[in-house]
């Protein structure tokens, strides 16, 4: 690693032992991937994946205490992933007891730590920090030290920023140090596509299903996607961004994708086109049959596979304003057609606090409330990851939630049918 004088001095301990260890950590981490330099982080804000005061993560909080005690705080303000608790979300007595007293018993003190380290503002908790309403939206070419797989893949692909798939803690350390190792998705070479994915479906592919299929096929490689632009209307508008948010989250959680290019849509593909494709790239064709195959491959781990769903979670990653208004209309219409006024399954829509605030200012908020749908800023994944929630038959259209929990995946159309027509299949 070629270090500048300043970086070498930090490594030598001139700015304290803790910062020296941080430098050592990031150098060793970078050298594993061939990094030969540490480059400045240039974004205004950082984003951290660790938002939850999970008792099991005690070693992380102890490490953060070391940074705080040494005065090594984040050089940038940051947002963090969603909070794990919200009393708006249906839960029984036992769940509440376990959430508050066992699982997330350290939530309050952890939020104090985050504030000390540099949280943007008290409600900056969302996995979709890049939404306009939240304000952590990096510009094209900026170097980030983010984590959260769905946010990293969005920042790289849709915004054209440059960020590796950093782990929690590494994200914070890059921001404390102000430098990150130069490798992988920070480099031009690392942003080239090793796969060409041809979309040959007869209708607009379900974002979460297509992302899952591509993630499982290409794993950590960069795909260049051809034929999706026609289903996205040919431009990167709000609807396309929402689609790519969900698509990307599925590629990142069902595989390990950190960047994708969509021909004629994402900024680098628009600028550089097929020159982004590496010589000898493999080809993956996605048609209706392939998506059906992938859908049918998902295991259902409910004890009673025919159980009537007890809860529906939408918004992993958090929903956009466009999704909230669109779903409000769809639910209202479907209920009307059924002669009903309320959804049949307790349903929770999750979004960033700032997006929910904006939504509340629209007439759609009252309409959605009338249908019985609950809005929340919670992380559905954090709600689901315990033995009590695991036994609940929960449905979702999130492939990320399906992957990490016992929640059962359905397409958007199937979810709409279930929550408005009676539930169960």
């Amino acid at each position: 690693m070629n270090l500048t004088k300043e970086q070498q001095a930090i490594l030598d301990g001139e700015k304290g032992d803790v910062l020296a260890r941080i430098m050592k950590t990031l150098i060793r981490y970078g050298e594993l991937f061939g990094a030969d330099a540490m480059v400045p982080v240039t974004s205004k804000y950082n984003h951290l994946v660790t938002s939850f005061g999970l008792k099991a993560l005690k070693p992380v909080y102890e490490l953060m205490d070391k940074l705080i005690e040494a005065g090594n705080l984040s050089t940038q303000k940051f947002s963090a992933d969603p909070r794990p608790l919200d009393s708006n979300v249906p839960s029984n007595f036992l769940q509440n007891f376990i959430f508050k007293n066992f699982m997330y018993s350290r939530q309050e003190e952890y939020e104090v730590q985050l504030n000390q380290l540099g949280l943007m503002e008290k409600d900056a908790f969302t996995c979709t920090c890049y939404m306009d309403e939240v304000g952590n939206t990096p510009a094209m070419g900026e170097v980030l030290s983010w984590s959260e797989s769905s946010a990293v893949v969005y920042a790289n692909s849709v915004l054209g920023a440059r960020c590796n798939r950093n782990s929690g803690i590494i994200d914070l350390m890059g921001s404390v140090l102000g430098y990150v190792p130069y490798f992988g998705l920070l480099t031009d070479e690392g942003r080239k596509a090793k796969w060409i994915v041809k979309i040959e479906t007869t209708k607009k592919p379900e974002a979460q299903l297509l992302g899952s299929a591509i993630g499982m096929k290409v794993m950590e490689d960069v795909p260049y996607i051809v034929g999706l632009d026609k289903w996205l209307g040919g431009e990167l508008n709000d609807a396309a961004k929402t689609y790519l948010k969900d698509f990307g989250a599925a590629t990142a959680s069902n595989g390990a994708v950190g960047l994708y290019h969509v021909e004629n849509i994402t900024p680098e593909a628009v600028q550089m086109g097929e020159s982004l494709i590496e010589e000898g790239a493999q080809v993956y064709v996605v048609d209706d049959a392939e998506l059906e195959r992938v859908y049918k491959s998902y295991p259902v781990i409910w004890k009673n596979k025919e159980a009537r769903p007890k809860l529906c979670f939408m918004g992993c990653p958090h929903m956009s304003l466009e999704q909230l208004t669109d779903w409000t209309g769809k639910i209202q219409e479907a209920l009307k057609a059924e002669g009903k006024t309320k959804v049949c399954i307790p349903t929770v829509f999750t979004a960033a606090p700032a997006v929910l605030k904006k939504f509340e200012e629209t007439p759609y908020a009252a309409i959605l409330k009338e249908t019985g749908v609950i809005t929340s800023y919670i992380c559905p994944l954090m709600y689901m990851n315990n033995p009590l929630s695991e036994k609940m038959p929960v449905i979702t259209s999130s492939n990320k939630l399906r992957t990490y929990t016992s929640a059962r995946y359905y397409t958007d159309a199937e979810i709409l049918e279930q929550i408005t027509k009676g539930g169960g299949k």
């Binding site: 260890r21 950590t25 594993l32 993560l57 959260e148 797989s149 782990s167 295991p299 990851n385």
Partner: protein, 147 residues
């Protein structure tokens, strides 16, 4: 018996029985329940990993191609190490991914009393050869003996 040579990510020597994942290991999905609910065996909780689901990972030689999934992966591994519920070693057939690398380096730099040798780039043949419960020995120079 067969020997494989890889790259040392985190140094150390160890001998332990193998558990093998032929697909990518989803670190969060695999370890989260074990860390949250005091399972000292670190039983794999990833429903999507038929090779490992329900099997003990703590103290075993975890053989895998790579890790996948949430970017909490590195800190989850770091916590597993800090809580002494880590695999005896992690042996990657492919070059290590950024999340597993973070966990391995964090544990090595920040935890003084924990050892989890990590070797990567052992090759596809390694993963084809090794089976559950075979005895794995990791040597100082990154050689992995499977018998």
């Amino acid at each position: 018996m067969k020997e494989f040579k890889g790259r040392i990510v985190a140094p150390g020597t160890v001998s332990a029985p193998a558990v093998v994942s032929h697909g990518g290991l989803n670190t969060l999905a695999s370890f989260q329940k074990a860390l949250q609910f005091g399972d000292k065996k670190a039983t794999c909780g990833d429903q999507n990993n038929p090779d490992l689901y329900g099997k003990q990972m703590a103290g075993k030689a975890l053989c895998l191609p790579r890790t996948i999934g949430s970017t909490t992966g590195g800190l989850v591994l770091y916590c597993a190490c800090s809580m002494k519920r880590q695999p005896a070693c992690m042996l990657f057939s492919e070059p290590i991914d950024s999340l597993a690398a973070a966990g391995a380096v964090l544990a090595d730099v920040w935890l003084d009393e924990v050892s989890m040798p990590v070797i990567d780039s052992l090759g596809e043949e390694f993963l084809n050869y090794v089976k559950d419960d075979m005895t794995i020995t990791v040597k100082e120079d990154g050689t992995v003996v499977v018998e």
